[in-house]
Structures are given as structure tokens and as C-alpha cells.
């Protein structure tokens, strides 16, 4: 399967991203060992110049990573014709045991990348490189995650066997089957809907509190992460049902198809942006105490959280609208 161009592109991207991150980590180690902001020595000046290179490398690397997440899902969607039993991305991800872990790792790398970029932005705002060491430590922590992603993705693509009959969304996301996906699908929609709305209100109210008062950022990050997970579960559990207008079709990917007006993008894009922003807000707010950053943090945190609130609101509106505009009535099913 490695000769499929999209798969080649995905493997290529990760090779490139891994090498970029390794290069950056090499510099990061030097920075961690020799950094001395007080000194005007040539080594220090050289290190400071290098920070520009590292930032550029990583901004690109994480953008490539984001694109590869999109391409990964897109490709899974388009390969569904090549496997017996696969009707959409779910089936292709199920072809072997590595598909889902790869997807989850890609998401994890995406979020850590977002947090790293936020820290990087913050570091550039302080006149004494206030979080330079922390941000490079974080970088060194992201590196193994990326390697894992690379290996899992490679295992996934090399172990694709077109003769295996895979199970698609119909079986995986059915309340009768076993496993996490099935349990999520089997969650009672009425309760799930309540939890979904409740956490939606809480996260937005909290986000507004951060935006207006500048307090509770950590809580917001935590709630943002929780809202993200709950939102994904809700999409599987009940939002998708309303979009498909089918009481038993729980698939989180089919909503990305043209047949459903690409409504999935309207749900996922704001959700991912909002969650990434909320987590970044948490990461940023912990540096308020640094004298050189107080101003920046007080300026940026409210702004980022208001943007996060807007995107959360967009997501909840889109989800609400999908449910409201649907012709499906769940009265008898529940």
C-alpha cells in the first residue's frame, strides 16, 4: 500500500517533520546547556540567532502536521473503495490495529504543537526570553510523541491487507457491539445531550469569565479539553444521528462527505480550533508572574479566550442547528 501517492505523501511529511524537529531539538539542547541572557558573548548571540531558525522550523513543522492530520482523514475516506466492507474512513482505520492509535497521536501532536506555538509567541514578547528553557523542554517532550506517530503510521500503512474484511461504521459504532466506540454509541442520547449542553454552557461561561476578568484560565483549559472529548462523544452518540436522519448510524466520518453538505467540517474545524486555543490559554496564563510577561499575558489571555469562546459557540450552534433542522424524531427510539 506504500505506493499510493497520498500514503507516500503522508510518510514523506512525517519524515520531513521528524527531521525538522530533530534538528530543532539539537539546537534546543545547546540552548538548554549554554543559555545565558546576561552575556553578550558570541556564543550567546549565535544561540539567540538560532532561536529564529528553530521557531521557523517548528511553525512549519506543526503546520505540516496539521495538514497531515487532514490528509490522513481525507485519504482514509478516499481509500474506502479499496477494502472489502469499508464504506468510509472508519472502515479504513479499522483495517488493522494501528489506524485509530495513529489518528489519536496525530491529534495529540496537533494540540501539543498548538501549545508550543503559544509558548513560543509568549517567549518572543518578553525582552529577556522568559520561557526559553521551558519551551525547549516541551519541544524535547514532543519529539518522542512524534516518533511514535511516525512508527504507528508506518505500521498502519505497511500492514494494510486488502483481503481482510474490515468492519465499518455500521458495526463499530453500533450500540450492540463491544468496545469503546460501541459504548460511546450506546450512551443514552438523552443523557448525553444533557451533558453536552451542560458542559457547553459551562465552558462558554468560564471562557467569558477569563476574557472579561482574566481569571480561571487553568480551569478554562481543563474545561476546554473536557468539552472537546464530550463533543466528540456526542457527535458519535447523537449529533450524527440527526445529520444522517437515521436512528442507528453513528459514524463520525461520514458527516465529512458531500452527501451531508460537508457539515462535519463546520463541526470539527471550530471545535479543534477552540480546544487548541483553550489549552494554549492555560499554558500562557501560568507565566503571568514573570515581570517581563505580565503585560503580554494580561493582554493575550483574554483575547485568546474570547476567540476560543467564539469558536466554541460556533461549534455548539452548528451542532444545535444540525439537531434542530433534522427531520429525525427520536421519540420512539428513546
Amino acid at each position: 500500500m506504500l505506493l499510493n501517492p497520498a500514503i507516500m505523501a503522508l510518510v514523506l511529511v512525517l519524515i520531513v517533520v521528524c527531521s525538522m524537529l530533530m534538528l530543532a531539538s539539537g539546537f534546543a539542547i545547546q540552548v538548554l546547556r549554554h543559555w545565558d541572557i546576561e552575556s553578550g558573548s558570541e556564543r550567546q548571540l549565535g544561540l539567540e540567532r538560532r532561536t529564529y531558525l528553530i521557531s521557523t522550523l517548528l511553525i512549519w513543522a506543526f503546520s505540516f502536521e496539521l495538514m497531515s492530520l487532514l490528509l490522513f482523514i481525507y485519504n482514509a475516506e478516499s481509500m474506502s473503495g479499496q477494502f472489502v466492507g469499508a464504506m468510509c474512513a472508519t472502515g479504513v482505520l479499522n483495517v488493522n490495529g494501528w489506524g485509530w492509535p495513529t489518528l489519536f497521536l496525530k491529534m495529540a501532536v496537533f494540540f501539543s504543537g498548538a501549545v508550543w506555538l503559544a509558548l513560543n509567541y509568549l517567549d518572543n514578547q518578553g525582552y529577556d526570553y522568559p520561557v526559553v528553557k521551558q519551551k525547549y523542554r516541551l519541544l524535547l517532550a514532543i519529539l518522542p510523541l512524534l516518533f511514535a506517530e511516525f512508527i504507528l503510521q508506518l505500521l498502519y500503512f505497511t500492514n494494510m491487507d486488502p483481503d481482510v474484511i474490515t468492519s465499518c461504521c455500521g458495526t463499530l459504532f453500533s450500540s450492540q457491539a463491544e468496545g469503546v466506540a460501541a459504548e460511546v454509541s450506546g450512551l443514552p442520547p438523552r443523557n448525553m445531550m444533557l451533558v453536552f449542553m451542560l458542559i457547553g454552557v459551562i465552558v462558554i461561561v468560564n471562557g467569558l469569565r477569563v476574557a472579561l476578568r482574566g481569571r480561571g484560565s487553568w480551569l478554562f483549559a481543563l474545561l476546554g479539553g473536557t468539552a472537546f472529548v464530550v463533543a466528540l462523544m456526542s457527535i458519535v452518540s447523537f449529533v450524527s444521528l440527526y445529520i444522517y436522519e437515521h436512528p442507528h448510524h453513528h459514524c463520525p466520518f461520514c458527516i465529512l462527505k458531500s452527501g451531508h453538505d460537508y457539515v462535519g467540517y463546520i463541526l470539527y474545524v471550530p471545535l479543534f480550533i477552540a480546544a487548541a486555543l483553550a489549552m494554549s490559554v492555560g499554558a500562557l496564563s501560568s507565566w503571568r508572574e514573570k515581570p517581563s510577561l505580565t503585560l503580554t499575558v494580561n493582554r493575550v489571555v483574554p483575547r485568546l479566550s474570547s476567540i476560543a469562546v467564539i469558536f466554541f459557540a460556533l461549534f455548539y450552534l452548528a451542532a444545535g442547528w444540525s439537531v434542530w433542522a433534522s427531520n429525525l424524531t427520536m421519540a420512539e427510539v428513546w
Partner: protein, 378 residues
């Protein structure tokens, strides 16, 4: 704040454009190579993708299941009464026997595909042929074509019509005749067919039907349309992949070319960067300016290359690939593919062209940008 940022980017873009124009020669060289790379890769993807689509469309019209009788592991004629033996299967909406085969024409050293059709007006004397055969034999409507039967007898047919050019990719070598003539020409006894076809309305029922068929007619082999489609799908993407691997060399060459161009600055350009740094541009500003430069070049190269490839594949029938593809068959179709573009394909192309360019230029750009601001004073 936002406006400030946008205006700043606008100034940088303006400056980049003017500096690109001032160094037209250098920019054009890079643009030409870049465009060529995009053009080659885009031609390959557009072409194979369109072929796959075409094949898919063609198969869409074919029946869901084909039943062939096997004898000693080889394809054999199937008795007509198998249709009765199948009887009424749940889900099967239509079933019929087909007659088809190949005819080798020594005059042009080519194989024709012979199929039978009911729409020939005078069943015993008229045939319909594909445009490929017409070209190879120099035939037009009203001309006569002589075919030799299996026992050496010669049959002459009048060309009643040519097949539609639009479907030429699949119909170039096709010859349609009536079933009666087919049986006489190839000595196929009445009561036998080449194979049987079944139509199944609901795709979910296909597998059930096939299971029942293998029980009912143990000496037959059912061929599923979805199976054929799946094979096509993977074969085509595999072919595309092979071509991409072959083109990797040129991508790598392009990468080193881009690296060279980005790092081999002329003394004049170096001085210019030095001046910018000295008068108040920061490293990040210069890098951003260079970023826009890369974006402008990439975007132009990608658009020009992609549009050229589009024209090449869909309007010029991929004429550059013709010498390679012509080896496939004597009756090379002069086809016009249905334009088809999809997002995944575009994204893949971007990953193979723009991404290598960006990566290749990051370090040279950084090296240029960290020029000391006081360099111009030394």
C-alpha cells in the same frame, strides 16, 4: 493591532514583488524549473486519475455479477439452461446470457473485441465498429469488412455505423454484430453463451446472491463488479505511486536546485539585505519577506504548472505520454478524458512540490536573514 499586522505584511509583499521583478532573470529560472516539476507530477496524477474514473464509469454500467463456467480451471461456454437452474433468486432483477470474444486480424496485426448487439438492422450483413478499427483499416460507413470464420469461410459485412467517439477509450477496438452471425463465425452452438450476467439492485444483497450461486452452480465462477472496481482502484493508485517514485529523482534535484538558489545570493542581494537590516528591519521581518517571496513563487509555479497539466491531459489528450502508452496496443484510442479534479489529489501534489521547496529554503533563508545589521558599516 490586526490592521497593523496586515498592513505590515502588505508592505513586505509589495517590497518582495518589486525585488522579484528587479531580478527577473533569476526568478524566472527558478519559476521555470518549479513549474516543470508541478507540470510533470500533475500530468501523471490527472491522467491516471482520469483513467481510473473513466474505467469506473464504464464499469458502473456493467452488471453487478458475471457468471462464468469453469472447466478444468479454464473459462468454458455456459449452457443456456443454467439461466433456468438459477431460477428466481431474491434480489436479482435481471439475468441474461452474453456472447463475446476476440478476433485476430492479421492484416493489421490487432485483436478486435467482438460483442453481440440486437440493434443491427440487417442482422446477417451489417456490423458496427469502433473508431480505432476504422482508422486502422481505413474504413468508413458503407464500406465492407471481411472476416474469416473458424472453418476458413469468408464473411463480408457492411459497416452500418461507427461507435461514438466519446467512449473511444473503451470502444476503439470494439466490433458489434448480431448473435446469429457471431454463432456462425465462431462456431458457437445454439443453447450456449460465453457467460451470464445478473443485475442486483441492492449492493448489500450481492454477497448473499453470490453465496447462493456457488451452491446452485458449483462449476461456475461469479465475478463481482465491486471486486473489479476495487482492483482497478488499487492498481491505478499503485501505478501512480510507481511513477511518483520514478519522479522522486527529479523532485530531489529540484530540492537541491531550490536550496542552491536560496543560498547562493549575489553580492548585490547580500548588500540589499544588509541595508534593510541596518535601516531597521529585524531578522523576523527579512524572514517574513522571504516567506512571501517563496509563497509568490510557489503559488505561481503551482498554478501555471497545474493549469498546463490540465490542458495537456484533458485538451491535448496527454500527448506527451502517447509514445509510452502507444506500446500497449496497435489500436491506440484517440480519446478525450472527462476533466476530473479532486481535493486529495491536489493536496498530495502540494505535498510533493510545495513542501519540498519550503523545506529546502528554510535554512538558506535563515542564514541570509541573520546578516549582522552593522555589516554595511564595516
Amino acid at each position: 493591532m490586526m490592521w497593523l499586522f496586515l498592513r505590515k505584511q502588505k508592505h513586505l509583499i509589495d517590497y518582495t514583488l518589486s525585488s522579484l521583478l528587479r531580478r527577473m532573470g533569476k526568478s524566472l529560472g527558478l519559476l521555470a524549473v518549479y513549474t516543470l516539476i508541478v507540470f510533470m507530477l500533475a500530468s501523471v496524477t490527472l491522467f491516471t486519475h482520469a483513467l481510473r474514473k473513466e474505467a469506473g464509469l464504464m464499469l458502473q454500467a456493467s452488471p453487478e455479477i458475471i457468471v462464468q463456467r469453469m472447466q478444468a480451471g479454464r473459462h468454458a461456454l455456459i449452457p443456456a439452461d443454467y439461466l433456468q437452474r438459477i431460477g428466481r433468486l431474491r434480489g436479482v432483477t435481471q439475468k441474461e446470457g452474453r456472447l463475446w470474444g476476440y478476433y485476430y486480424d492479421p492484416a493489421v496485426k490487432a485483436n478486435y473485441t467482438i460483442m453481440t448487439a440486437g440493434q443491427v438492422a440487417a442482422p446477417l450483413t451489417e456490423i458496427i465498429i469502433g473508431t480505432g478499427i476504422a482508422r486502422a483499416r481505413g474504413l468508413a460507413v458503407g464500406d465492407y469488412l471481411t472476416l474469416r470464420s473458424q472453418n476458413g469461410e469468408a464473411f463480408s459485412f457492411e459497416i452500418a455505423a461507427l461507435l461514438d467517439e466519446k467512449s473511444e477509450l473503451v470502444s476503439a477496438d470494439l466490433l458489434l454484430m448480431s448473435p446469429q452471425v457471431f454463432r456462425r463465425l465462431f462456431n458457437v452452438p445454439e443453447g450456449f453463451y460465453t457467460d451470464l450476467v445478473l443485475s442486483v439492485r441492492n449492493p448489500r444483497e450481492v454477497r448473499k446472491v453470490v453465496e447462493k450461486l456457488t451452491l446452485l452452480l458449483p462449476d461456475t465462477r461469479p465475478i463481482l463488479r465491486e471486486e473489479v472496481l476495487r482492483t482497478y482502484d488499487s492498481v491505478f493508485s499503485w501505478r501512480q505511486g510507481i511513477l511518483f517514485v520514478l519522479l522522486t529523482g527529479s523532485i530531489l534535484a529540484f530540492v537541491s536546485f531550490a536550496w542552491d538558489k536560496a543560498s547562493g545570493l549575489s553580492a548585490e542581494e547580500r548588500r540589499e539585505i544588509g541595508i534593510l537590516k541596518a535601516v531597521g528591519w529585524e531578522t523576523a521581518d527579512v524572514m517574513r519577506m522571504k516567506f512571501w517571496e517563496g509563497m509568490i513563487i510557489s503559488l505561481s509555479a503551482f498554478m501555471i504548472g497545474y493549469l498546463a497539466a490540465y490542458a495537456h491531459v484533458f485538451y491535448a489528450s496527454a500527448s506527451l505520454f502517447e509514445p509510452v502508452l502507444k506500446g500497449w496496443a496497435v489500436l491506440y484510442p484517440q480519446f478525450r478524458l472527462t476533466p476530473f479534479v479532486d481535493g486529495l489529489q491536489l493536496a498530495t501534489l502540494l505535498f510533493f512540490t510545495v513542501l519540498p521547496y519550503i523545506v529546502a529554503t528554510i535554512i538558506p533563508i535563515w542564514r541570509t536573514s541573520i546578516t549582522d545589521p552593522d555589516a554595511v558599516m564595516r
